[in-house]
Amino acid sequence: MRRLARDRAAMAALVLFAVIVIMCLLAPVYAAWAGVEPFKSTLDAVITIDGQDVPVMEQSTEGLGLGYNPIGPTWRLGSYFLGADNQGRDVMARLLYGGLNSLVIAGSATIVTLVLATALGLAAGFFGGIVDTVLSRILDILWAFPVYLLAISLSIVLIAQGVQIGPITIESGSLSLPIFIIGIVYIPYVARPVRGQVLSLRESEFVLAAIGLGVPSHRILYRDILPNVSTTLIVFVPLMMALNMLTESALSFLSIGVQPPNASWGTIILDGQGLLYSRPMVALAPGLAIVITVLALNVFGDGLRDALDPRSKIRIGRG
């Protein structure tokens, strides 16, 4: 840990990430202070700039003068800092709310992946034999499946109607769907290295001694093996989180992640696509937010890996 604390780039990245999280957590405060409704069409809103009333949706001056253009960035905090989208909603407020959703989904999906992958990796590596064969083949199948196509297949089936599995009903607009989808598709990325590590731990002397003493398997797994793979798991957290942020935004951009009127950074970029040439800030701002957040996570993740597990070859970035 001291090594990590001395890594200035990693610490700066961690601070930056914390600032982003805090800003997103303050989204409701910002919306209340600015007096905007980030999830409702407010086409007839009027704001005051320098004592003048300006409508949020202004009459288009290009072409035939038909239609309306949302207001561009005012660069004044609290009154459409980044402008409005095509429904007259404050982009800055939506950016903060959207960031919150992106972070929640990426974080929860990371937890889902790590928990399931650890369980699979431990079981496959420790019990070996038929358990290992079956689990490894399942991981092979999941590994070979193109991520976005798997996500599209799952979401076209799930998002349209929602799912009902026994007593659990997940509604179609729920955030748990993207969490579940992203959490599942990356299991092999983590489960494979965990399995490999458990395989070698299984043959180490202290584990063989415990088995010889008749210690029950679940106790060996919990007391001897899990603490030894935990370093690998910790190293995975920021890197998986970065990958999940990118995947979440991509799925939301393809309209199979967060569902409107809810927002995430991906959906705001999608909203901004139609306004790209007239009001580019709607699409630029959330993209920059993603780049900065993911970059911070990657820099911190690299530092964490160098400090905890310098010889590991953990490297994420495909997707």
Binding site: R137, I138, D140, I141, A144, F145, P146, V147, Y148, L149, L150, I152, S153, L154, I156, V157, L158, A160, Q161, G162, V163, Q164, I165, A242, L246, S249, A250, F253, L254, S255, I256, G266, I269, G272, Q273, L276, Y277, P280, A283, L284, P286, G287, I290, V291, V294, L295, N298, V299, D302, R315, G317, R318, G319
Partner: protein, 323 residues
């Protein structure tokens, strides 16, 4: 060696089977909804629903349904869309393959060349400002959402700076076939190639640098130094050569994954009618037969590409060959 090859081949067949079962279960056996209604699309009439049920054999046992689906996709190829009545799905998918291949091959050339340059330059200059700069740029490339980068590229080249000398050559979005208009084909693809390759240039540059620096610790490098070889020669002839193994493996996997649908986001942003764009349009229209076919073909392609990488590995690496 024959045994290793056969084993890898068997594994490939198994994974393909597993994927087809998984796709089948996702589309036909998710709990809580009628698969016929999903396949028929929005607001389907009772007649269409009936036609779907009959065509996919929903009154028959589940393994017959699986076989029917596989037959429709791979043997008879008569899977049809119900959203666009009568549209044959399999030829539609095959039509999009050249577009995706054009995109991915061009991007692959860029990312291999620049990935090599950046990796070698950073490794040669390790510890200096150049190394740090290249690695930070690489990390930024890895951290950018590709579809957003594509939009920024469009904004710059199609709108903001389109009238300047820099981007006046950029044609409007869309795809031109190579056989009828090779110049148009090239010009429309330049910006998509750059966009798609940036992530991989960053990734491959970083991976290659790490691999070269690791192999510079090896004993044979010390031997080469002791022989008095020049530093450049050691770097290019000895360290780079071993590092290319991981580079090539990674390339096989990524190339397969991109052709198999991961280029989707780039295709969507640039309006290139490839496999990914076809899937995306089908997603918007809720046209499930198209998605079934693209998912099945694409994932099979990925599995075969992965197997091919391993087989080349077995053929080339003497340790695997004898073992």
């Amino acid at each position: 060696m024959i045994f290793a090859l056969l084993r890898r081949f068997g594994q490939m067949i198994f994974v393909m089977f597993g994927i087809s079962v998984l796709v089948f279960l996702i589309f036909f056996a998710t709990p809580g909804a009628d698969p016929a209604a999903r396949i028929a699309g929005r607001n389907a009439s009772p007649e269409i629903l009936e036609a779907v049920r009959k065509s996919f054999g929903f009154d028959q046992p589940i393994y017959v349904q699986y076989l029917t689906m596989m037959k429709k996709i791979f043997i008879t190829g008569d899977l049809t869309s119900f959203v666009n009545r009568g549209w044959k799905v399999v030829p539609a998918v095959l039509d999009t393959v050249p577009v995706t291949l054009s995109l991915v091959i061009g991007a692959a050339v860029l990312w291999v060349v620049f990935g090599l340059l950046i990796g070698v330059a950073a490794a040669a200059a390790r510890g200096t400002w150049l190394d740090k700069l290249l690695m930070v740029l690489g990390l930024i490339g890895i951290s950018m959402p590709v579809y957003w980068l594509g939009e920024v590229m469009n904004l710059v080249s199609q709108s903001r700076y389109h009238d300047t000398w820099m981007f006046s050559w950029v044609p409007p979005l869309g795809y031109k076939t190579f056989s009828t208009d090779p110049k148009g084909w090239f010009l429309t693809l330049v910006i998509p190639w750059i966009t798609l390759s940036i992530l991989y240039i960053g990734l491959y540059g970083r991976v290659l640098r790490a691999a070269i620096i690791e192999s510079l610790q090896e004993d044979y490098i010390r031997t080469a130094r002791a022989k008095g070889l020049s530093e450049t020669r050691i770097l290019l002839r000895h360290a780079l050569r071993t590092s290319l193994i991981s580079f090539a493996t990674l390339f096989g996997l990524d190339f397969g994954a991109l052709v198999g649908g991961s280029a989707l986001l780039t295709e969507v942003v640039f309006g290139l009618q490839g496999v990914g764009k076809l899937t995306y349009d089908a997603l918007l229209n809720l046209d499930l037969p198209i998605i079934m076919a693209t998912v099945m073909y694409a994932s099979f392609f990925v599995v075969m590409a992965n197997a091919l990488v391993d087989i080349v590995y077995i053929l080339l690496d003497p340790r695997v060959r004898t073992g």
